[in-house]
């Protein structure tokens, strides 16, 4: 355990190819996922045993069959969740309120709008903070301190207040996403804009570059890696903001609404399907940001 972290010694023999494949990352991830699935299946019978619709006695196979065909299981089987996902995405018309594509789009649209607004606000604030000393001294401590408080709790207020002045639907949720995701962007971009060291800044000065030129040609390009690191955080909390923003409106549309209505009516499969859909959405969003990062860095001449 302690030696494996050391650099390979010249004398050490490489492990054989099958051993290397078996201990490679993808295989290890697959093994852990498999273990989780096995554990999940093993838990289905004990977790559902208390339900009135479950037979009290019987062989394990019978119990398993009964648990798998439950309509409202305490713990559904993974394949049942996937089947529900399939049913509510592919086999349902996309415009129907039973379609997860419909609800996913409602959530995704406010996530993306809030994300765009939040990133824009975050970058503007960061530019202000690095160029105005008083703004840095006044605002930055508050932005950092705000990371320690559960600002998500403000979400219901925004929904209700904007609702009472006639704004409903997309915009209030987007505003929640926006105010959640501008914090990491601002903090990351302030770090990024101040990341060029004094040597690089001095070089710009010897070129007699103006402040704007230094910003455009040095500070902005230098901040791009920081931007993408913050974007990954921002996009996932933007999604959380949109989902939580759908809760106080009383479950009209969106993945959060599916979670809430599933919770009201005990539709466990609906909850799990919405949860999986949210997870898939989150990973697609993070993947999109990662791809954009790779493309951008390559276009900027970074080494792959």
């Amino acid at each position: 355990m302690t030696t494996e972290a050391l650099p390979a010694r010249p004398s050490a023999r490489l492990p054989s190819l099958p051993a290397r494949i078996l201990s490679s990352g993808p295989v290890a991830i697959a093994a852990v996922v498999l273990a989780i699935l096995v554990g999940w299946y093993a838990m289905i019978v004990p977790m559902n045993a208390g339900l009135p619709s479950m037979p009290k006695e019987g062989s394990y196979a019978e119990l398993t069959r009964a648990a798998w065909s439950l309509e409202r299981p305490v713990l559904p089987a993974p394949h049942a969740v996937v089947a529900e996902l399939w049913r509510s995405t592919v086999e349902t018309r996309m415009t129907s309120p039973r379609s997860l594509v419909f609800h996913g789009w409602v959530t995704l649209s406010s996530t993306l709008l809030g994300f765009a607004l939040g990133v824009a606000l975050g970058i503007v604030l960061a530019i202000g903070i690095v160029s105005v000393k008083a703004l840095e001294k006044s605002l930055l401590p508050w932005i950092i301190a705000s990371q320690t408080i559960p600002i998500l709790a403000v979400a219901p207020i925004i929904i209700v207040v904007l609702g009472s002045i006639g704004l409903t639907g997309l915009v209030p949720k987007a505003i929640i996403s926006m105010y959640l995701c501008f914090f990491p962007v601002t903090i990351g971009m302030v770090k990024g804009f101040t990341s060029p060291d004094s040597m690089q800044l001095d070089l710009m000065r010897t070129y007699s570059a103006s402040g704007l030129q230094t910003f455009a040609k040095l500070r902005w390009p230098a901040s791009v890696p920081f931007l993408f690191a913050s974007l990954k955080v921002a996009v996932s909390i933007s999604l959380v903001g949109a989902i939580v923003g759908e809760l106080p409106t009383g479950a009209q549309a969106g993945l959060g609404a599916r979670l809430l209505s599933g919770s009201y009516y005990g539709q466990t499969l609906q909850i799990w399907a919405a949860l999986f859909a949210a997870a898939i959405l989150a990973s697609l969003l993070v993947l999109a940001v990662t791809l954009a990062e790779k493309v951008t860095l390559r276009l900027m001449g970074g080494r792959p």
Binding site: I29, A31, S138, T148, P150, S263
Partner: protein
């Protein structure tokens, strides 16, 4: 922005700048008091708004002067670095107050800070019960359990490289997912009371702790490990005497991230169902009754609790990793 190009003020200017800051404070207090006068509250005349803008500009100018003051590193600079954000925050609160009171913004839309403070003071028993239900019963146990579980799994994963290679990418992946969505499932499994909130918080805090601890356990340098090996230290000694201490900054980072996550998890989980007490319950029901002053009071409690929680962890961190910055110079000697 233009003032940034001015030469730094002389040391003799310190008293003048401090005077400006005090005058700004007085201006803020004056505007806030004036807003509540009959005849102004609810129907403020134009000259009052002009006064507000002037006071705002004046505090900004005071902040500008304070920020640009060249101070020697030390107590004076630290005082300045606290005073500037304080004055800025105070200005924001006074503007909030003055706009709400002066323009007569209805309470159901945006209560002024004074109304929130009043509500905070008058409903201490309710807030205390909510705090007890959410923070003491759900956040703290969930945070402790989730972090401990993440830590334990990380230590095991550290011993089994195969497990680590499988768990670490998964942990990173899961950290980006909206885990808060498991709240309805937990409510279904563990009931409406605090047990289900502990469940949500445990799951939310597990992965950040796992990822941070695994990263931390790999943080000790080769030199230190070789030294330990030359002392014939076993893997247990290596873990306890070198790698865990070296991992402490990472572990505390995980604990700090988790403190905020735990509070968010417990509050949002209460939106899905609670007994009739709890911070999230209060927020979601009072917002439905348009009692926004109560909602804000609850948010103030959450903010204070979150900050104190974070601050307490930071204090423990400072006490536990006091060696950390001084470690390297000592070794170089």
């Amino acid at each position: 922005m233009t003032a940034a190009a001015l030469p730094a003020p002389k040391a003799a200017g310190v008293a003048g700048v401090a005077g400006t800051a005090l005058a700004a404070l007085a201006a803020l207090a004056g505007v806030a008091l004036l807003a509540h006068r009959p005849g102004i509250a609810g129907s403020a005349p134009l000259w009052f708004w002009a006064l507000v803008v002037a006071a705002w500009a004046f505090t900004w100018w005071a902040n500008q002067r304070m920020s640009l003051l060249a101070l020697p590193a030390g107590a004076a600079e630290r005082t300045r670095d606290v005073a500037v954000p304080l004055l800025f925050g105070l200005t924001c609160f006074v503007l909030w107050e003055v706009v709400c009171v002066g323009a007569g913004v209805p309470l159901v839309l945006m209560p002024p800070p004074s109304a929130i403070l009043e509500r905070l003071v008058t409903s201490v028993p309710t807030l205390a019960a909510d705090f007890n239900q959410t923070f003491v019963r759900a956040v703290i146990p969930g945070w402790a359990l989730g972090s401990a579980a993440g830590f334990a799994v990380a230590v095991v994963a550290d011993r089994v490289p195969f497990l680590r290679r499988g768990l670490l990418p998964l942990g990173n992946f899961v950290s980006a997912l909206p885990i808060i969505g498991i709240a309805p499932i937990m409510v279904m499994w563990f009931g409406f009371d605090w047990h289900s909130k502990v469940g949500v918080v445990v799951v939310m805090t597990f992965f950040p702790m796992l990822v941070n601890t695994v990263a931390g356990l790999g943080a000790s340098g080769h030199l230190e490990r070789d030294l330990m090996r030359s002392y014939a230290a076993g893997s247990w000694d290596m873990l306890v005497k070198l790698r865990l201490p070296a991992a402490l900054p990472f572990i505390f980072n995980g604990l700090k991230i988790n403190s905020t996550l735990a509070l968010i998890g417990a509050i949002v989980a209460e939106f899905f169902g609670t007994p009739i007490v709890g911070m999230g319950f209060r927020i979601s029901t009072e917002v439905g009754r348009l009692a926004l002053d109560m909602v804000w009071a609850e948010i103030v409690v959450a903010a204070i609790a979150g900050t104190l929680f974070y601050g307490a962890i930071a204090l423990v961190e400072r006490a536990a990793t006091f060696w950390h910055p001084s470690y390297r110079p000592a070794r170089g000697r």
